[in-house]
């Protein structure tokens, strides 16, 4: 009898090991295939269509005051786009706030071009040709001009440092109907949802790989999405209340992940499934 049990235990152990190997091979080859798919698409990334539209918008006088973005300071001087995204979020004394790119663009639209805040944020996330987002196009243009630039968020600056610390706290804060934190889905290696590898954002390399590839063209949506969108959608997945666009909460999480990505080359706008 004891021999029999031992045999059964031994047999089931073999089965378990085998299943484990199969699952690993499956996960590995799926990840490889998705990587191949991304490579194949990288060449003709439709994000370039958004970049072109954003560049046009950046250079054309707009809004009730008929002012171009040439007077908009993204942190490197008025109108300077090159490398600006790699040093955001940062503190802007004129606004008295730490801002990410999208929030800063809205600030320039309101304070320099004369839009109301409601008008400037009417379509933050586009949906097809009937509902296009100026902000997504502008973000695509600005970020594309940081390609190859090393991320360098000024974490020594006290306001940015505070935002970073708040973002870190939020990242591990559990709540909502499912008691999820960001870290629940993004705190371990090798996790997957719908065949998609979930980056381990608690590791520097994970945060670097993820942050430096947003904004991104989402093939499944046929849209270019910004980091504000990425966070908004993860709040939904987390069953948290809707993340307010440009809120301190959104900027704190952005500062945390962007700061963790410091030192890595920016490579967006990328293309994702």
């Amino acid at each position: 009898m004891p021999g029999m049990i031992r045999r059964i235990v031994a047999a089931s152990a073999v089965v378990c090991v085998f299943a484990g190997v199969v699952a690993d091979v499956f996960a590995q080859s799926t990840a490889d295939e998705i990587a191949k798919y991304r490579d194949a698409l990288q060449d003709g990334n439709p994000a370039e269509l958004w970049e072109a539209r954003g560049e046009e918008m950046w250079k054309t006088p707009r809004g009730p005051k008929h002012v171009a973005f040439a007077s908009c300071d993204l942190g490197q001087g008025a109108g300077v786009v090159k490398g600006a995204y790699a040093q955001l979020p940062r503190y802007f004394a004129d606004a008295g706030r730490v801002m990410d790119l999208e929030t800063r663009l809205v600030w320039c639209m309101v304070n320099q071009q004369g839009y109301t805040h409601a008008d400037a944020t009417k379509t933050v996330f586009g949906n097809g040709s009937a509902k296009r987002s100026d902000l997504e196009a502008l973000a695509a243009y600005v970020t594309s001009r940081s390609q190859g630039v090393k991320m360098n968020v000024p974490l020594d600056e006290p306001h940015v440092h505070d935002m970073y610390a708040l973002g870190e706290k939020m990242f591990y804060y559990r709540g909502g109907t499912h008691d999820f934190a960001c870290a629940t889905c993004h705190g371990d290696d090798g996790k997957r949802i719908r065949l998609q590898d979930l980056p381990n954002l608690t590791k520097v390399e994970g945060a670097q790989k993820a942050y430096t590839t947003w904004p991104a063209y989402r093939v499944s949506q046929g849209e270019l999405r910004t980091f504000q969108w990425r966070l908004n959608d993860c709040f939904r997945q987390q069953r948290f209340p809707e993340l307010v666009f440009g809120s301190d909460a959104s900027i704190a999480l952005t500062a945390y992940l962007a700061g963790r990505a410091n030192g890595a080359e920016y490579r967006g706008p990328a293309i994702k499934r």
């Binding site: 003709g44 439709p46 269509l49 072109a52």
Partner: protein, 103 residues
């Protein structure tokens, strides 16, 4: 009006390699909106690429081509500085033509 195409054309050996991104919804006619109404088909039907008054590519597309299509092809010949002209026409008879210089 439709957005401009993004065109890159480069001499590679004795050929020219052309890469084009087009901005288009490419609706299949199979999808429904939130109210359950069919979204009408709307897609590029004809694509024509001309180099020095000579058609180097003529294509007929259907609704299975992806949104914001990317087209890549090569043709024999072409020299730096030459112009190529690309035109698409969709099933609404909307059309767009853009030009690029071969680099």
């Amino acid at each position: 009006m439709a957005d401009p195409m993004k065109i890159r054309a480069n001499v590679v050996g004795d050929s020219t390699e052309v890469k084009v991104l087009m901005s288009h919804e490419m609706e299949t006619g199979q999808r429904k909106d939130a109210q359950g109404k069919v979204i009408p088909a709307w897609f590029i039907q004809n694509v024509r690429v001309v180099h020095n008054d000579k058609v180097v590519l003529a294509a007929q597309w259907g609704p299975s081509v992806a949104k914001n299509p990317f087209l890549s092809f090569k043709f024999k010949g072409g020299a730096k500085g030459d112009k190529i002209r690309i035109t698409w026409v969709d099933n609404h008879n909307d059309t767009r033509t853009d030009e690029a210089t071969i680099a």
